[in-house]
């Protein structure tokens, strides 16, 4: 086990930020920590890294107890903060070199690592730029380079794609997959379920400082009672037809919102053909029609009764 967290409790006065949080992260996986803003993801990361003291619980990294003085553990950890944490006074190259220098003393080796990190985040052409001159996406990439230049075994990325354009986001996600392929264990926190779904091999969904569900994305989706969701673009359907549609076998709910008919099916059922037959039989005109499997948002919605982005 790379990270073992047991019954972690962190309070900020009256507020319980982490409520008996337990996690196990295995070597080589991309572990996703998913939850809405304020769910306790960053607090959990800070407690795991001993950047925050906690009230109760245990944290072990690489099988050893994590403390603020556990420098041998810290040597193999790379951290990418939620906010860009670089020195405005240093160039791109100098920033990476400085943070790499905190881990690697050998100058020649450090130079090689910095060059590799620059190439990894594709910032070679910006090496002499000061952070002020970089766009948001490039800054995020610099932030990542500063955290991974020393080739850590465990990389913790705390919402690294916040306020990043889609192109840069894709580059970041690709980069994370490559780091994992090179052997690093990744802990990825985000409130973007699409990213977590795309990237992570195992996911923990958090809310109010607690783990509300965990597993692979398939396992998480299997937890809920919902099956596929069929959306039909239709202009006219009357109330009577809606009631008849709801009565079809395997249909859980039917809604008509903004000229769109949203039909949710029960788990394990396939109602696309049935719905199409119904529309034809009742001569209901329709445009596009598409079917989706449940998302992590549906999982979160079913468990907590609210949207992930609430």
């Amino acid at each position: 086990m790379i990270i073992h967290v047991k019954n972690l409790v962190k309070r900020f006065g009256e507020l319980v930020a982490l409520d008996h949080l337990s996690l196990d992260i295995k070597e080589g996986e991309i572990f996703g920590l998913l939850g809405p803003n304020g769910s306790g993801k960053s607090t959990a990361i800070n407690c795991i890294l001993s950047l925050l003291s906690y009230d109760k619980g245990e944290v072990e990294i690489f099988g050893k107890k994590m403390t603020p003085d556990a420098y041998d553990i810290k040597r193999d950890i790379g951290i990418v903060m939620q906010n860009v944490a670089v020195f405005e006074e240093l160039t791109v190259y100098e920033n990476i070199d400085y943070f790499c220098g905190l881990y690697v003393r050998n100058k020649a080796e450090r130079k090689r690592l910095v060059e590799e990190a620059l190439a990894f985040v594709e910032l070679e052409d910006f090496r002499k730029f000061y952070p002020k001159k970089l766009s948001g996406g490039l800054l995020r990439r610099l932030n990542i380079a500063c955290g991974i230049a020393h080739k850590p075994k465990l990389i913790i990325l705390d919402e690294p794609t916040v306020a990043v354009d889609p192109q840069s986001r894709n580059k970041i996600l690709e980069g994370i997959e490559r780091l994992n392929a090179q052997g690093a264990t990744i802990v990825y926190t985000s409130h973007y379920m699409e990213e977590v779904e795309q990237l992570c091999t195992r996911i923990v969904i958090m809310d109010k400082g607690r783990v509300i569900a965990s597993g692979t994305k398939e396992e998480l989706k299997a937890m809920i009672t919902l099956g596929e969701k069929i959306t039909v673009e239709t202009f006219s359907i009357d109330e009577e037809q809606l009631i008849k549609l709801r009565e079809l076998p395997g249909i859980v709910s039917v809604e008509h919102v903004d000229k769109r008919l949203i039909i949710k099916s029960g788990k394990g059922t396939n109602n696309l053909e049935t719905v199409l037959d119904f529309l034809k039989t009742h001569e209901i005109g329709f445009g596009r029609i598409y079917s989706e499997l449940p998302t992590l948002n549906d999982v979160f919605l079913e468990i907590t009764g609210k949207q992930l982005r609430d």
Binding site: Y71, A85, V86, E88
Partner: protein, 389 residues
């Protein structure tokens, strides 16, 4: 030492704003040096004033010629036409301050022991005229004495004797009693003003570095690394101390360039020692400010308040003697007050016995106390901040 090197880079990035303070300070220092230097020259050197004299002689004898030559040593002769109006105008416009007329038969009267007087017209309250009066009295009284005691001597012989007797002069050196060379000197003003510059430069430099390092995410990133917290702090302190030492050395070196004479005195050693202790104190204060402040925008306002405020109330710009006792009482809670007080005592130091130095060391110890207090406080706050973060 990556943290140390980074600090140095940040200092270099800020050199422009820091050097601006140094440049302003030096400009003020040079202006002060010019004014104090000229004042010093007035009071420490002696040169005889010469009165502008119009000598009108109605007779020409060897004695009157000898008198003319003798008077020329202490007067500047101005030639004027012997007309009342012209003479009055010359006096009015201060072209001359003394008009002396030798009446006809004056020499004979003197040689015969008579009491005939020369006519004099002078500008009232003119100090230079006193010299002329003395010379006139001296010459003719001596001529009377020679004439009385050596009646056979010719006029030429009397003139020769008079010239010989009056040729002696006394060199004058002004040496104020028990006054130190550094009292009211450029160095004293310079070291007083140094309180302002050192405060501004050190707060600007050290606090900037500390604020940058204490940014929450940057400090977290640093403390996530395998570099020990103690090592990071030690490197930070070392870099700040080096910056403080270099700033202090540069400013003291400028004093040497501008007033190298004072560096020959023993007093300067105490000035240097006092400023070094003050540098340590302000470095600690800057370290504390850096730990307290969260952003660089607030820093320049804090820097101005913390540098100008204590300097105004502690007597850096206005001598402490002119400040109200309540103001001084408040100022005594700042290290600047004790620094200035020590400087004032050092400047007038003429003896270097323990009894003379005691008060100076007392002030220095207080400044050192401030330094230790600021440093301890900043360590506590720094640690507390790290835990809360």
């Amino acid at each position: 030492m990556p943290v140390f090197k980074l600090c140095m880079k940040i200092f270099l990035k800020n050199w422009l704003s820091i050097s601006l303070y140094v440049a302003i300070f030096l400009a003020i220092a040079i202006m002060i040096s010019m004014s104090t230097m000229s004042e010093q020259n007035k009071s420490s050197s002696f040169s005889q004033e010469k009165a502008k004299v119009a000598l009108i002689s109605e007779e020409k004898t060897p004695l009157t010629e000898g008198f003319r030559q003798e008077l020329a040593k202490s007067s500047d002769f101005v030639k004027l036409p012997d007309r009342t109006e012209a003479l009055q105008d010359a006096l009015f416009f201060r072209n001359v301050t003394y008009i002396l007329r030798i009446p006809k038969g004056f020499t004979e009267d003197v040689l015969n022991g008579g009491s005939m007087q020369m006519e004099k017209t002078v500008v009232p309250n003119s100090t230079e005229n006193a010299y002329v009066d003395i010379n006139v009295e001296q010459y003719w009284n001596m001529a009377r004495i020679y004439a009385k005691h050596e009646p056979k001597a010719s006029e030429q012989q009397v003139v020769k004797q008079l010239k010989k007797n009056l040729s002696g002069s006394t060199p004058v050196t002004i040496k104020a009693h028990e006054r130190a060379q550094t009292a009211n000197s450029f160095s004293m003003y310079y070291f007083n003003f140094l309180a302002y510059t050192l405060s501004a430069v050190l707060i600007m430099g050290i606090s900037t570095v500390m604020i940058v390092f204490n940014k929450r995410d940057l400090s977290r990133r640093n403390f996530c690394s395998p570099m020990r917290a103690r090592s990071i702090n030690t490197q930070l302190i070392l870099a700040n101390l080096l910056f403080a030492a270099i700033s202090w050395a540069i400013l003291v070196a400028f004093c040497f360039l501008l007033d190298s004479k004072s560096f020959a005195t023993q007093n300067i050693l105490f000035f240097i020692m006092n400023s070094a202790i003050f540098t340590a104190c302000i470095s600690s204060l800057s370290y504390l400010i850096g730990n307290l402040l969260k952003n660089l925008n607030a820093m320049s306002a804090v820097c101005n308040v913390l540098t100008l405020g204590p300097c105004f109330i502690s007597g850096v710009f206005v001598p402490q003697e002119f400040l109200n006792s309540t103001v001084l009482k408040i100022a005594s809670f700042t290290p600047t007050y004790w620094y200035v007080q020590a400087n004032a005592k050092i400047a007038t130091l003429t003896h270097f016995e323990w009894s003379d130095l005691e008060a100076i060391f007392y002030s220095m110890v207080i400044v050192l106390g401030f330094a230790i207090a600021f440093f301890a406080l900043s360590l506590v706050i720094g640690k507390r901040k790290r835990l809360i973060n």
